[in-house]
């Protein structure tokens, strides 16, 4: 039976050495929906994607994808799960020694035995979906940031994945590229019947296309809801984040001893 939620995170705790990044987190990602994970820089948003992809193991709790507990899978099992996923990395992570065409063809060539003529059709179709069919002969190093992100997106959807994960898809993009990516996330999700998980801190964009949003702060899910619910939220953290206020529950100053003490100690 197909489960309602394609990804489920239950009581997840994760950290490096003694610093805990996530404490007892619970999240669900329903099929066919676009879910955003938001929070300040360094709060462990990207780590959640890496946990879903099985690149790291949780300290406690579990992440299940399509009913299978990720960290209990062997290498083969994890690779099988990953074939159902496509991931767009923060800066695209295109292979610099390959052309745009070969980058998109890479997962198809690795995982299928399709004839080259069919691979060509598929690649051009994927590139057309992101508006870059005309750039298929360029080398990946010749692309602008926004174009590289779109090619990486075409590569991520090359095998029609069930889950598409986006790691900061808007970071460092100009407004036009941002709007294009924004539109592509929603369009591709609906056209492919996929489930999208987006890690971002861009409030306006996330609120414009996400079906559901999780806010992470201090290692826990600080707030969750639809964009409509969250924009009306009176929670101090959500208010500070959504309105971009410099001080609030997230302080402007990094934890430090008193200013006076620091000044006198240095003399």
């Amino acid at each position: 039976m197909t489960q309602k939620n394609i990804v489920e995170i239950e009581n997840l705790s994760f950290g490096y050495d003694n610093r805990m990044l996530h404490k007892d987190i619970n999240m669900v990602f329903p099929r066919g929906k676009v879910t955003a994970i938001m929070g300040g820089s360094g709060c462990g948003k990207t780590t959640i994607l890496r946990l879903i992809g099985g690149q790291i193991k949780p300290k406690a709790g579990q992440v299940s994808v399509d009913g299978k507990i990720v960290h209990k899978q062997d290498r083969q099992g994890i690779y099988e799960l990953r074939r159902k996923m496509g991931m767009l990395f923060q800066h695209g992570a295109l292979f610099t020694d390959l052309s745009v065409f070969d980058n998109v063809a890479f997962p198809i060539r690795e995982h299928t035995k399709l004839p080259e003529s069919m691979i060509r059709d598929l690649v051009l179709m994927k590139l057309n979906a992101v508006g870059l069919r005309g750039a298929h002969k360029l080398m990946s190093t010749e692309l602008s940031g926004g174009m590289a992100r779109r090619v990486a997106l075409a590569r991520a959807i090359a095998l029609d994945p069930d889950i598409i994960m986006y790691d900061e898809p808007f970071a460092g993009l100009d407004p036009i590229s941002m709007a294009v990516i924004c539109d592509l996330i929603r369009t591709l999700n609906d056209a492919l019947g996929a489930t999208s998980i987006i890690v971002t801190h861009d409030v306006e964009e996330a609120f414009s296309f996400a079906d559901y949003i999780y806010f992470i702060a201090d290692g826990i899910v600080a707030a969750e809801g639809t964009p409509k619910e969250l924009s009306k939220s009176r929670l101090p953290f959500v208010h500070q984040f959504v309105h971009g206020e410099k001080d609030g529950p997230v302080p402007f100053h990094y934890n430090a001893p008193s200013y006076k003490k620091d000044i006198y100690e240095s003399v």
């Binding site: 690149q55 074939r83 990395f89 992570a93 610099t96 997962p107 690795e110």
Partner: protein, 262 residues
């Protein structure tokens, strides 16, 4: 803390971290061997890497070998003529190159030319998340990226060392015969009689294969283990040259002592 304890604990830390790295590199080496089947299935990648590591190193190997051979010819003649055996110059040049200089100098040049390129490339691939992206596409970077580079290094090194020795002998010949005037026939015939195929040529080749494994593993491991920052990659590249050079010289002593004892 007592300063002596401080020194001892820092020394202990250094030793354990070095041993840990050695263990981790050994594990990395075994992983490459385990994934070799997958690497060889993509043989075109290995051939491409042989071009980058082997063929592109040819110029530096040939030019260096020529000069090393010429210097050997000059130095050898200068010493041998004192004992009236300047005809043995061919043997001296050939033995020095086949037994020691060919494998060792090739390995040192290889570490500087190809090793650094491998470390920087893998380190940057890691820093730009290309390796993570490959992992997420359910493709093992060890099989797809590391394996072909490893086998390319191992295959290239003995060929480069052989070319080095061959060109070196030519350099020695050029100085000894046309310039100094040693007899052409004596140069080649003495070499023919006194160079043993099993003891000199094969042993030299064994050395170069061992150096090839060592230099390539060090370069790959340093790149794979480099912190994904500009500073991390630059430090890793430096460590590749230093570690490879010292390892080659150390291994050369060990191998030579085994070969001579045998």
């Amino acid at each position: 803390m007592n300063p002596i304890f401080k020194i001892l604990s820092s020394l202990g830390n250094q030793v354990t971290s070095r041993i840990w790295r050695l263990g981790s590199a050994a594990r990395f080496f075994f992983l490459i061997l385990i994934y070799s089947g997958e690497s060889f299935r993509r043989i075109h990648l290995t051939i491409r890497e042989i071009y980058f590591t082997g063929v592109m190193s040819l110029i530096i190997i040939i030019v260096s070998a020529f000069f090393v051979g010429m210097v050997l010819g000059l130095q050898g003649y200068y010493t041998l003529q004192k004992y009236g055996s300047s005809e043995s110059i061919g043997v001296l040049v050939a033995l020095a190159l086949l037994r020691e200089l060919g494998p060792v100098v090739t390995a040192l040049l290889f570490a500087g030319r190809a090793g650094t390129a491998i470390t920087a490339e893998i380190g940057l691939m890691k820093a730009t998340e290309q390796l993570s992206a490959m992992e997420m596409m359910a493709v093992s970077p060890i099989a797809r990226i590391i394996g072909p580079r490893f086998w390319a290094g191992v295959i290239s090194m003995p060929i480069l060392a052989s070319i080095f020795s061959m060109v070196g002998v030519m350099g020695g010949y050029l100085v000894a015969v046309p310039i100094i005037g040693v007899d052409h026939g004596a140069f080649w015939s003495q070499m023919n009689v006194n160079v043993d195929f099993r003891f000199d040529v094969i042993n030299g080749l064994i050395k170069s294969v061992v150096f090839g494994v060592a230099c390539t593993i060090i370069a790959l491991y340093e790149g794979f283990d480099a912190p994904p920052t500009a500073e991390g990659v630059s430090r890793a590249t430096t460590r590749t040259v230093v570690t490879s050079s010292l390892t080659v010289l150390g291994l050369d002593f060990i191998l030579t002592s085994f070969m001579i004892a045998h």
